[in-house]
């Protein structure tokens, strides 16, 4: 099956980040942007042009489901919810990311065993 692991790192990371944000609660696209900015202390800002394609891809793969709901301000917005497969996927990605970042961190720290 199609799997673009090892392709575009940014894209892969964005998927993981979106899944992580959605793990807390179902959220609409705008809310996801806001939460990413807030939780990363403004270090990360998401390009909307890549956020929505990422969301649709996650939906198509069955990791995220979506439904129209009303916001607290009584506005209709599409809410995204993480699925069981999505949680599994997030766990796998997280593990991989932690290995990768520990490895990269060790190299950059210049520690020799």
């Amino acid at each position: 099956m199609a799997d673009d692991r090892g392709g575009d790192v940014i894209k892969g990371t964005l998927e993981m980040i979106v899944l992580e944000v959605l793990q807390a609660e179902p959220m609409h696209g705008w809310g996801i942007t806001e939460r990413i900015e807030r939780r990363s202390d403004g270090l990360l800002s998401v390009n909307q042009g890549s956020l929505y394609p990422t969301l649709y891809r996650l939906v198509a793969r069955g990791w995220v489901s979506s439904a129209w709901r009303t916001t607290e301000n009584n506005r209709a917005a599409r809410y995204y919810t993480i699925t069981r497969a999505g949680r599994k996927r997030l766990a796998a990605e997280r593990a991989q990311w932690e290995r990768l970042s520990r490895g990269v961190g060790l190299i950059l720290a210049g520690v020799r065993p």
Partner: protein
């Protein structure tokens, strides 16, 4: 799929796409709106805030397109990847792919070919307008015999009094040359001679010109003709101005009044009907021969009950009007086309239909078995894929794709096999398929068979896949699933049972039919066929008048007798085993023993010597001429019937005398028996010889063209005989063939049946072998670890092999028992096709079972041997 349905689907897809776009736009508008709101909260003026939000979002259109792209690409990508994956997986398992493909292709091919024939001959309605109202007319005699034809008097009676019908007609066939000059030198064409209300009965009218009018039909007008579409096209270049032109039918000048439409179909003609000419039915009340083929159209909407009542009343009226001609229980009868023409082959076709259904069942069971086996061998693969995040739907989609790829390939193979099979069937079939009902290779039938196979594949493929990611996810990965008997085992055993049972039914049927055929071939026909050739002179040019016709055969006979290499030569009215003439015969001392249907033959001297038939008494001589004393030779059966063991030579018989009445004044004389000949099986190898009387041809009254029988050196004689016939008249078109060919025509149908069912049985055996092999191979694969442990603990290979094979052979035995029982129940359906063979003959059933046992043991032995030779170390180290 119809164009409309297709369009609806396309539109549905487009609509869904529209909806998707609208949702995306709404979602992005919401996003921009929220961004604007935040900018305002941060103190921007509203217009700047909105512009800023839009800028930071970028182009809505571009984002929507990117989103759409992601959506679309994934679906296509998945499907394409699935197909690629399926093909790769199948290539990695070539034996599985080959077994499944050949199974499905064989099942689809064989069943579509036979279904096409059954559909054409037995199921499809007759291609005439309103076929339900179309009927043939026949007659039932006192003893219940019936025949689909009438006497001329009965025909006239139905025409004048049959109130159940809106139209009644009669027809016959005629072979004639059609051309623009008299006696054109073209091959004769078969045409129809029609009378009565033919066109209204048949329901077709000419596409060009007109039908024959009532006067022409009544008078049998010999100056008009209607051409068939095919003849009009091939011989007259589809000339649109053909109507009104003059052409010649043999020597008769006729004006074309019409051309029939291309879909004109009239049943009894084998091949094309080239032309129609009107002919008058001459009613001769003393002619009791059922020689008028009559058809009728029932009043539309008549209930069966009302129709039967009217036919009953009509029969009663006929009996009342002609009490001398109809017994108390004789009656008119309606025949459907199939009853009238497909009689002989119907049973054969139903049996073939049953056989091919069994084959299709085996193919389905086999496909299912193979898929189950494959699924179980893929537990681990599926478990791994589920573990790395493939959802159930995704895995199902993948398995489904694999099934569809298999189905697509086997559908193509099956269609090719089916088309070839149908062609082979039609080539091998005896010429008893009713004319005009030519089977066509039909897409509907193909779709049906493919659908059956695909459905089987999908149902069992999925059934096998579902449990694999319910409970095998964990155990499959851990490898502990090995020693267990999974849910698939029971299903597999049932499938093996079904396959074996069906194969046994087919095998038993094939064995019985083959044995019957072998016995039939060993029957002594009572005459020698080996050194005899048969010569038919073909249609005579019609400048031959009666006198010339009578002399022709005699002159050729004289020429042939003088040829080197010819031992004997004679003429006969027909070849042995071809239909001859029946006549009533009795003796003056025993008229009560008289037979209504004695075989009567008019032959030349040397007839018995030519056929190698023993003869006591004297043969006919040249002196037994037209003016001499009437003499005859009878066969042993005839002599036994009338005189028992007493000598027959010198006795007197009465040809044409029956129930104290002479059939005609002309026949009113006594005939002396001068010889007794051996019995010949003349009406069929499988039928006992009938009482026969043979009369010198010079004293006979048969004006049909006789055939020549020549005994001698085959290779030398065949060519020179043909030369002599052409030497007599170069316009003759003789057919020269060995008499063995006529015999083999006579057994064509039993041979065909035995051959076809034999082929099915062989295929069934092969499929069953594949199924059994597959199951045992899977068992070995699943229990590899257990087997390794047992081997390493000291179990011998033989014990292990037996353990593996045991359960499967148990299912095979159970299947054989079920199959035998099923055959036993249905064996009666074969009885009427058998010659001197009991369908329940235990020796034959034992042969069938032995064949199955042999194949089953061999199919099991190969994987069992593998199990016995497993290396325990490798096996255990595998995990």
């Amino acid at each position: 799929m119809s164009v409309r349905a297709w369009w609806a689907r396309v539109r549905g897809t487009l609509r869904r796409r529209d909806a998707l776009d609208r949702e995306m736009e709404r979602e992005m508008a919401f996003h921009v709106e929220m961004a604007t709101k935040r900018n305002v909260e941060r103190g921007m003026p509203p217009d700047v805030a909105a512009r800023q939000a839009k800028l930071s979002f970028g182009s809505v259109g571009a984002a929507a397109e990117a989103g759409r792209e992601a959506h679309r690409a994934l679906i296509v990508e998945n499907a394409a990847a699935d197909v690629r994956f399926a093909v790769r997986a199948l290539r990695r398992a070539p034996s599985f792919a080959l077994a499944t493909l050949s199974t499905m292709a064989l099942g689809i091919g064989a069943s579509t070919a036979i279904f096409a024939v059954v559909d054409a001959v037995l199921l499809r309605p007759l291609p005439v307008p309103q076929p339900a109202d179309f009927t043939y007319l026949g007659w039932v005699w006192d003893k219940g015999d019936a025949f689909p034809a009438l006497t001329s008097l009965q025909y006239q009676f139905v025409r004048d009094h049959g109130r159940a019908f809106t139209a009644v007609a009669a027809y016959g066939t005629r072979d004639a040359r059609v051309g623009t000059v008299p006696n054109a030198s073209t091959t004769p064409v078969r045409g129809l001679e029609v009378s009565g209300d033919f066109f209204r009965t048949i329901g077709f009218t000419p596409r060009l010109g007109r039908a024959f009018d009532a006067t022409e039909l009544k008078a049998g007008d010999a100056s008009v003709i209607i051409l068939d579409d095919a003849v009009w096209r091939t011989r007259f270049g589809a000339d649109p101005d053909i109507v009104g032109q003059r052409l010649f039918l043999d020597r008769e000048a006729r004006t074309v009044v019409g051309v029939m439409p291309a879909n004109f179909f009239f049943p009894p003609a084998v091949g094309d009907t080239g032309f129609l000419v009107p002919v008058a039915v001459h009613v001769n009340p003393t002619d009791e021969g059922h020689n008028t083929q009559a058809i009728a159209r029932l009043r539309h909407g008549t209930s069966d009950f009302a129709r039967d009542a009217e036919i009953g009343a009509l029969s009663q009226a006929f009996r009342a009007a002609y009490p001398a001609l109809a017994g108390a229980h004789e009656a008119f009868r309606l025949y459907t086309h199939r009853e009238a023409y497909a009689g002989g082959i119907r049973l054969t076709l139903w049996v073939l239909f049953g056989a091919v259904s069994l084959l299709l069942l085996i193919a389905c069971a086999n496909t299912a078995t193979l898929l189950l086996v494959r699924a179980s061998s893929r537990q681990r693969e599926i478990a791994v894929r589920a573990a790395i995040g493939a959802g159930p739907a995704r895995i199902l989609q993948q398995l489904l794709t694999e099934g569809l790829v298999l189905a697509a390939i086997s559908a193509v193979l099956g269609a090719v096999l089916g088309a070839l099979g149908l062609r082979a069937f039609l080539a091998a079939a005896p010429a008893t398929l009713p004319g005009g009902l030519a089977p066509e290779f039909d897409a509907r039938i193909l779709v049906f068979a493919v659908a059956v196979c695909v459905l089987t594949g999908l149902v069992f493929g999925l059934a096998a896949a579902v449990p694999s990611f319910r409970w095998r996810l964990a155990s499959g990965l851990l490898g502990t699933a090995r020693g267990t008997t999974g849910g698939g085992t029971r299903t597999r055993e049932v499938l093996v049972l079904v396959e074996t049972a069906s194969a046994v039914v087919l095998l038993a049927g094939a064995t019985v039919l083959a044995a019957s055929f072998a016995r039939l071939m060993r029957v002594d026909p009572g005459f020698e066929t080996d050194a005899v050739i048969a010569v038919k002179l073909g249609p005579l040019p019609d400048d031959y008048d009666a006198a010339r016709r009578a002399q022709l055969a005699g002159r050729i006979l004289e020429r042939v007798r003088r040829l080197p290499g010819v031992a004997h030569a004679a003429t006969a009215p027909n070849l042995p085993l071809e239909r001859g003439m029946n006549f009533p015969v009795d003796t003056p001392e025993h008229p009560e023993l008289g037979l209504g249907a004695v075989e009567l033959r008019f032959v030349s001297p040397d007839y018995f010597a030519t056929l190698g038939v023993p003869l006591a008494g004297r043969d006919f001589a040249a002196s037994d001429g037209a003016g001499g004393e009437p003499v005859a030779i009878v066969n042993t059966t005839f002599a036994k019937r009338f005189w028992g063991e007493a000598p027959a030579i010198g006795r007197t018989i009465q040809i044409g005398h029956f129930k104290d009445r002479w059939l005609s004044d002309r026949l009113e004389h006594q005939t002396r028996v001068i010889g007794v000949a051996g019995d010949m099986r003349e009406i069929g190898l499988d039928r006992a010889p009938r009482a026969t009387v043979v009369v010198p041809w010079t004293q006979g009254f048969d004006d049909r063209q006789p055939v020549l029988l020549v005994r001698g050196e085959m290779s030398q004689v065949a060519k020179s005989v043909r030369a002599e016939v052409l030497g007599e008249d170069p316009r003759l078109i003789p057919t020269v063939e060995p008499l063995t060919a006529a015999v083999s025509r006579n057994v064509a149908e039993p041979r065909f049946r035995a051959l076809l069912i034999g082929t099915f049985a062989a295929s069934a055996l092969l499929l069953a072998a594949i199924g059994i092999y597959g199951v045992i191979a899977a068992v070995v694969e699943e229990r590899r670890r257990e087997i390794g442990v047992r081997l390493s603990l000291g179990a011998t290979g033989a014990v292990v092999a037996l353990g593996v094979v045991g359960r499967c052979l148990l299912s095979v035995s159970a299947g054989a028992a079920v199959g035998l029982a099923a055959f036993w129940v249905t064996r009666r359906s074969l009885a009427s096709m058998l010659y001197d063979t009991s369908p329940g003959d235990p020796r034959l059933l034992a042969v069938a079972l032995a064949a199955l046992a042999l194949v089953a043991v061999f199919a099991a032995w190969v994987p069992a041997r593998r199990a016995a030779h497993l290396d325990p170390v490798t096996t255990l180290r595998l995990d």
